[in-house]
């Protein structure tokens, strides 16, 4: 394995680590305080299967393998809104395991097809028929049903409850950021989903103070407003399902009107050349507000995914994007 020449024996060697971190790219034009607050985007879509979820998926799969839970042809079953499933499916295929992805119906078509292409079987659930206390999440419950009723056929890593999801970020994401910023990071901006990232980074940065600073690195969670349509993310009110959520580790929660996720993602593409997905757009908007307020610092935004899987969501929120895509419907030049 040679990270300098980028020549590899297997795609597994591309998985991120302190030696092979996902890239950190400086955001300048969209930074309200470019001279006093360095703002960096950590491009998780540069991971081999295309999102931040590569980290958790690898740790989850490796744990199942090590515990012998995938012996005797047993496959992996997991509820997923897409990215964990895509990473898991690709990794499972590579390692010779079957994979069943239980997917909420609201997941964009692009992601469902990607799961199929990566080798997963799909079970689509019409989720959130009427969100209510105690009902849990249809896809989580159905995956649990498979793992319980057909335990000879399926094992469930359960990203919502499995510490391996947290460990992935303690071992990889945290040390990467620390090394890439030379220990100068003061703010980390991220979103909440399974909470593996936030809890893992929270534990890694708990005792760390940026160089020359008295206060520890601040973890800022950016969440979409309720009723949101930002795939992969959860508002705190929806976090009951994640057993990995530990509010003590979060220094601040910034809530952003979810429509802005789409607008900001387009700005990132058009201004910074970063083809960011809606979750990255949302995190950027949260970071922008904090930079404007704090004015001095060094911030890292975890950009979970790029734009490619979400074009249909973009059109839903920014219908003007679809103008001119049919012959003869273009505007005036």
């Amino acid at each position: 394995m040679d990270h300098r020449a980028r020549v590899y024996d297997s795609v597994l060697e591309l998985l991120p680590s302190e030696e092979n971190p996902s890239p950190l790219v400086r955001v300048r034009r969209l930074n309200p305080c470019p001279d006093t607050f360095a703002l960096w985007a950590k491009l998780e879509w540069m991971n081999p299967f295309g999102s931040v979820k590569d980290r958790a998926a690898w740790f989850l799969l490796r744990q199942l393998e090590e515990e012998g839970k995938l012996d005797n042809g047993r496959g992996v079953v997991e509820p997923t809104s897409g990215n964990t499933g895509i990473s898991l499916a690709a990794l499972a295929s590579l390692r010779g395991h079957r994979m069943l992805a239980v997917v909420p119906d609201r997941v964009p078509l692009e992601k469902k097809l990607l799961l199929r292409i990566a080798g997963a079987e799909l079970e689509v659930v019409s989720d959130e028929l009427c969100p209510s206390p105690g009902m849990g999440d249809g896809s989580i419950n159905l995956a649990k049903t498979y793992a319980k009723a057909q335990s000879d056929r399926w094992a469930m890593p359960n990203q919502y409850e499995n510490e391996a999801n947290v460990e992935a970020h303690v071992v990889t994401t945290g040390p990467e950021i620390w090394r890439q910023t030379g220990g100068e990071v003061t703010h980390v901006f991220l979103s909440l989903g399974t909470c593996g990232t936030v809890t893992g980074l929270g534990r890694f940065f708990r005792e760390r103070k940026p160089a020359g600073k008295e206060t520890k690195v601040k973890l800022i969670a950016v969440q979409p407003s309720e009723g949101h349509d930002v795939p992969g993310l959860r508002n705190i009110s929806q976090l009951e399902v994640s057993k990995l959520f530990d509010p003590e580790l979060i220094d601040e929660v910034v809530e952003i009107d979810y429509e802005l996720a789409y607008e900001r993602a387009v700005e990132l593409a058009r201004t910074e050349g970063l083809l960011a997905g809606p979750s990255a757009g949302l995190i950027y908007e949260g970071a922008r507000r904090v930079v404007e307020r704090d004015r001095i610092g060094c911030g890292v935004m975890i950009f979970p995914d790029s734009v490619f899987k979400y074009t249909s969501n973009f059109v839903r929120h920014l219908p003007a994007l679809a103008e001119g895509v049919e012959p003869g419907t273009g505007g005036k030049r």
Binding site: D105, E128, P133, G134, T145
Partner: protein, 284 residues
């Protein structure tokens, strides 16, 4: 103290532990009722037959509940007898199981009960088994023990209530549906032309009756919600409705069996029927 203390009819609820203890006993039959049978097929309580609410519990031609003959045929094919203790459970906090309960009562089944907490509670308890194996069913000849149309409200009953204003009308949909902000919950078909609620209705979302572990809340809490909070007058007859009649059967169960109100009917025509009518009054 047990959780069922204080309910008017505690005998219609069984716990998951009770079901586990009585699995396989003759005379005790389990039916899982879901909006569809995807989850049932993946795994269910051993011995339970699975009913699909959409395709098996409604008349497939006109909009109606199963006729008595159709219900008898379904019960016979499922190996049920009128003497059985039938335990119902299902997804979505027993919405559809509650609808099934209502249907069993309409056709006079003496001993039908809900498994408190539904399939989600069973699923999340480590000592409870699930199986994908369909049960062995021996066909029976189920003959309904009667008919109880008085458990059901029709449109004419709702009109009569509008005139006399002598009923509690409980709209169990979400506040956004009740106030007319939306016609149907996000992602569900808008089956009515207009949004709002039936004049005089009070809004108590069905989920208010459910605890975080998916079981029904204790009787004193339910009384506070419906009687003290929403002003449901226990001395008056009550009609519950929602969008298509399934969420309201859940509330119908709460009001009639847990709180013991005398005269409670489920208006299964619900907003899908009322919200499409020409010239009727609507409140928002």
């Amino acid at each position: 103290m047990t959780a069922t203390d204080g309910y008017a009819h505690p005998e219609v609820l069984v716990s998951t532990d009770w079901v586990k203890e009585h699995l396989g006993e003759p005379g005790i039959e389990l039916v899982e009722i879901d909006v569809d049978t995807q989850a049932y097929a993946a795994g269910h309580v051993p011995g339970a037959v699975g009913w699909n609410w959409q395709s098996q519990l409604q008349d497939q031609r006109r909009r109606d509940i199963l006729s008595k003959e159709e219900f008898e045929r379904l019960a016979s094919e499922s190996g049920l007898s009128p003497d059985d203790t039938v335990i119902l459970y299902g997804d979505n906090n027993n919405w559809f199981a509650a609808y099934g309960f209502w249907l069993f009562k309409i056709y006079g089944h003496p001993d039908v009960r809900l498994m408190d907490g539904g399939r989600v509670k069973w699923l999340n308890e480590d000592d409870k088994e699930l199986t994908p194996e369909p049960p062995e069913v021996e066909r029976t000849d189920y003959v309904a023990r009667g008919e109880h149309p008085e458990l059901r409200a029709h449109l004419a009953d709702v009109f009569a209530v509008l005139e006399r204003r002598d009923h509690n009308l409980v709209d169990v949909r979400s506040p956004d549906e009740f106030t007319g902000k939306i016609i149907a919950p996000p992602g569900l078909p808008e089956t009515a032309q207009r949004a709002g609620h039936i004049p005089g209705a009070t809004n108590v979302p069905w989920s208010t009756a459910v605890a975080p572990d998916a079981t029904f809340k204790p009787a004193d809490e339910l009384r506070k919600i419906y009687v003290d909070g929403a002003g449901v007058d226990a001395g008056r007859p009550t009609i519950a409705y929602c969008r298509i009649g399934e969420r309201s059967s859940h509330t119908w169960f709460v009001l009639k069996y847990l709180l013991g109100l005398e005269n409670v009917r489920n208006y299964d025509g619900s907003w899908t029927e009322y919200g499409n009518l020409i010239g009727v009054p609507i409140e928002r």
